[in-house]
Amino acid sequence: MKRLLLFFLLMAMMLPAVARVEAYHFDDPAMEARYKQLIDELRCLVCQNQNLADSNAELAQDMRRLTYEMVSKGESNEAVIAFMVQRYGDFVLYRPPFRTSTALLWIGPFIILAVGVLVLVAFIRKRGKERMPAMGSQDQERVRRLLEDKET
């Protein structure tokens, strides 16, 4: 009985996942792929950390419908994106274009990586020097003798 209850409980929890938003029908699978790619890359302005595909906000529904209409009319991805940017600005793009204002965003990680590598190299070099103090001539003599002993 408990198991059965648990089963139904789990099923109930899955309902929101089943309640998917509207499904658009495309005759051409290539168009459908483009539509999916677009709603994946375009950002919903209401729930700002979701893309159009994930968001259930009414604005996202409108934007999906528009994307659908444009794609099924045969417009290119660039045209759809340009249309959205013209209205909502670069904000709708999850893949912002390279501009002076976004340069740090794009180059930043590489700068940090370069700094990290430089620090690492400097650190390793320094430690290497510390670990190997120059051998005195007495020590060198001892090493030579020990090696010779082993050979004979």
Partner: protein, 176 residues
């Protein structure tokens, strides 16, 4: 040698400053790309009389406000009395777009709360709204005589906003 130990502190302060700036920014304030661009045209059925049309073209040559609202939006109720004040005491021409709404509900609201609009376009399925880049309600645009968008605000209009930003701009634009 002591300065070395200040490096982490420096990094921490820098990080704290950036995070502080980030926290005080309002992520809802998406910069509008439409400022100083020609206002998109629209022609919508009149909320009060579906037979008639409300068109942006009728207001060319004038300084007017476009206010996007809906009865479903609590902020719109909040700003309503201020819109009434702007329309009746400040002589502003306000055109409304009733967005994604129920016609009867919207008419009821205007009957009960007063109507600050010279005309209200009815846009239940976002046909005009998308062109204006509207993503929330209320949103208010100021359009100048040449038909360009000069100012935009997302959220309710307040007396402070009016005094500090909108009024000086309206005065200037009307004088042109």
């Amino acid at each position: 040698m002591k300065a070395r130990y200040l490096i982490p502190l420096g990094i921490f302060i820098l990080l704290a400053v950036f995070l502080g700036i980030g926290l005080t920014l309002n992520p809802r304030e998406v910069p509008s790309v439409l400022i100083d661009k020609p206002a998109p045209r629209f022609t919508l059925p009149d909320l009060m009389d579906p037979e008639r049309k409300v068109s942006s073209a009728s207001y060319s040559g004038e300084v007017w406000l476009l206010n996007v609202w809906g009865t479903w939006c609590p902020e719109c109720w909040k700003e309503h009395s201020f819109l009434m004040h702007l329309a009746h005491n400040e002589g502003l021409k306000i055109v409304g777009i009733d967005w994604r709404d129920d016609r009867a509900e919207a008419i009821k609201m205007l009957r009960e709360q007063g109507n600050p609009f010279v005309a209200v376009g009815f846009d239940p399925d976002s046909s005009a709204i998308m062109d204006w880049g509207v993503y929330g309600a209320p949103e208010t645009f100021l359009i100048d005589k040449a038909g360009n968008i000069r100012w935009k605000h997302t959220g309710a209009l307040t007396p402070i906003l009016w005094q500090e930003q909108l009024q000086p701009l309206v005065m200037q634009l009307k004088g042109q």
